[in-house]
Structures are given as C-alpha cells and as structure tokens.
C-alpha cells in the first residue's frame, strides 16, 4: 500500500468514523442536560448529520454520478410527500 492508498483506504474512513463518535457523544450528552431546550430538534439534527456523514463519505455519494444521486434523493423527497400530506390532515382536524 502506498502512502496515497493508505490515506484513501484507511485514513479517510477513520476520520469520518471519529466524527460519528463525536456526534454520538454530543447527542447522548445533550439528552442528559436537565432542562436543556429543543432536545428533540437537537437529537434529530445530530442524527441527520450522522446520516449525512455516512451517505456522503462511507457510501461515497459525494463522488457518485448524477443519476445515482437522483435515485438517493428520490427516496427522501417522496417520503416527505408522505409526511407532508398526512400531517396536513392530522394538524388541521
């Protein structure tokens, strides 16, 4: 393994992994602060950040071609239709 390859194959994922652990610590810690505000939003935001790290770096969507990105995006967009219209009902009963 050359230096270049080692950075590409081992080091880059390790950095992402470290980032994931930092986020895990953050979300766990924040949940235990008594009386902290917006706990739901913070925990979900951190979950999304972790997901984004995995998608962009582990799953290499960052480097994928446009077609693949489109496929990935479609799932999120269509799931948002489901939430949007269902809650359009629940929230206006």
């Amino acid at each position: 393994m050359t230096h270049e390859e080692r950075r590409e194959i081992v080091l880059a994922p390790l950095i992402v992994w470290a980032g994931l652990f930092v986020l895990l610590g953050l979300t766990w810690g924040y949940a235990y602060i008594p009386g902290a505000s917006a706990k739901v939003i913070v925990s979900l935001t951190i979950a999304l950040a972790k997901g984004a790290l995995i998608v962009a770096f582990f799953m290499q969507l960052r480097r994928a071609d446009g077609l693949t990105r489109l496929a990935a995006l479609a799932g999120i967009v269509w799931a948002s239709f489901l939430f949007l219209f269902t809650f359009a009902d629940f929230l206006t009963r």
Binding site: I9, V10, S43, K50, A71, A72, G75, L82, F90
Partner: protein
C-alpha cells in the same frame, strides 16, 4: 485500481455495468427509505398525539444497550467502508480481514440486542396482558420499539448474509473481480447503519431527564 471485472450478460462495456450496480442498489435504498418512512410516520403521529404519556413509556428504554449498539454498528460501517475500498484497490488481505470484522461486529450487535430484549421481557415491556403501562400512548411507544427494532434486526441479518457471501467469494479467490458486488453489499450495510442512527434518538434519548 483493478480494472478487470466479470462482465454480466446484457452489458457490452464495463463502464456501464460499473454504474448499474450502485444505481440499482441506490434505487433499492430509496425504497428502504420509504419503507422505514412508513413506520416513522407512525412514530411521528404517536409522539405528537400521545404527548407526555408517550415519553413516559420511552423512559424505560435501556439507553446503555442502545448507545453501545450504536457504537458497534457505526464501527462496523467503518470496517465495511475500508473493506469496500480495499476490494476496489486490489488489497485482498485487508478486504478479507475487514469483512470478517464487519461480520463479527454485526453479530455482536445482534447478541447485544438479544440481551436487551431479555431485559425488556423481564420488565414486562411487551404491550398486551401484563404490560407495565396498560393501554395508552406508552403502549404505542413499545409497539413502535418492537416493530422497528425487529424489522431492523431482520435487515441486519440479511446484511450479515450478504457479507458472508462476499467472504465466500473471497475464499474462492475472485473477490477482486466482484468489486461491484462488494460495493452493493457495502451500500446496503451502510443503510442498515443509518436506519439505526435515526432510530437511536427516537428510541433511547426521548425519555431522558
């Protein structure tokens, strides 16, 4: 970078085939997103509608098991990512060890989950006769807990099957020619990880003080 690849039938050129597998798998992952979207919609409704009583149920979730399992699964994602890159780069030994590591971490996830289930059963946390909270939003939280985690565990098991198959291909000696299979398997495994990362705050952090 290894350039040889086993060409499958309809494809005339490797470049197209190399797009096909990730594209196909990503499309499948989009369906997984909607699949779990359905049960998350149930969670959103129950939490919004159940309010404090729902959170009350969530207090009983075993945060330690959940946090350790999150760490285990995130680490398995790391080993999988390295395995996949090593396969593409042509480093067989690294790929083998990392796949083996992923398999072990995945299995430990299931074992830890099993211990957690045992604790939940002991504490009467299965909705139904003898349930700790009786009928109400707390029961809905636990209905979500069981359905979501069992569904996720089934995904983990399928993922372990895929990894076992990759290891078998490696034993046969031509993993490097099946780099696209390794890529597909890795994508699936990462998705299983993401699902858990999303479930973690919903299940374990809701009921904290």
């Amino acid at each position: 970078m290894a350039e040889d690849l086993v060409l499958h039938e309809p494809f005339e050129e490797a470049a197209r085939q190399r797009i096909a597998v990730p594209f196909g798998v990503w499309s499948f992952l989009a369906t997984e997103c909607l699949f779990f979207g359905g049960i998350l919609l149930f969670y959103a409704y129950a939490r919004w509608h159940g309010g404090e009583a729902f959170t009350q149920g969530a207090k009983e979730a075993a945060v330690w098991y959940g946090t350790i399992n999150t760490a285990v699964l995130m680490t398995s994602s790391l080993t999988m990512a390295i395995a996949e890159r090593a396969t593409k780069g042509g480093f067989r030994v690294v790929a083998r060890w990392m796949l083996g590591g992923t398999l072990m971490l995945g299995l430990s996830f299931l074992v830890i989950k099993g211990f957690e289930y045992r604790k939940d059963v002991h504490e009467h946390l299965i909705p139904g006769p003898g349930f700790k909270f009786g009928q109400g939003p707390a029961a809905q939280f636990w209905a979500f807990y069981w359905t979501a985690t069992v569904t996720h565990a089934i995904h983990v098991t399928i993922g372990l099957g895929i990894i076992a198959r990759l290891l078998w291909i490696e034993r046969r000696g031509d993993l490097l020619l099946h780099a696209t299979s390794a890529q597909g398997g890795a994508l699936y495994w990462h998705l299983v990880d993401i699902v858990w990362v999303v479930l973690y705050p919903l299940l374990y952090l809701v009921g904290r003080p």
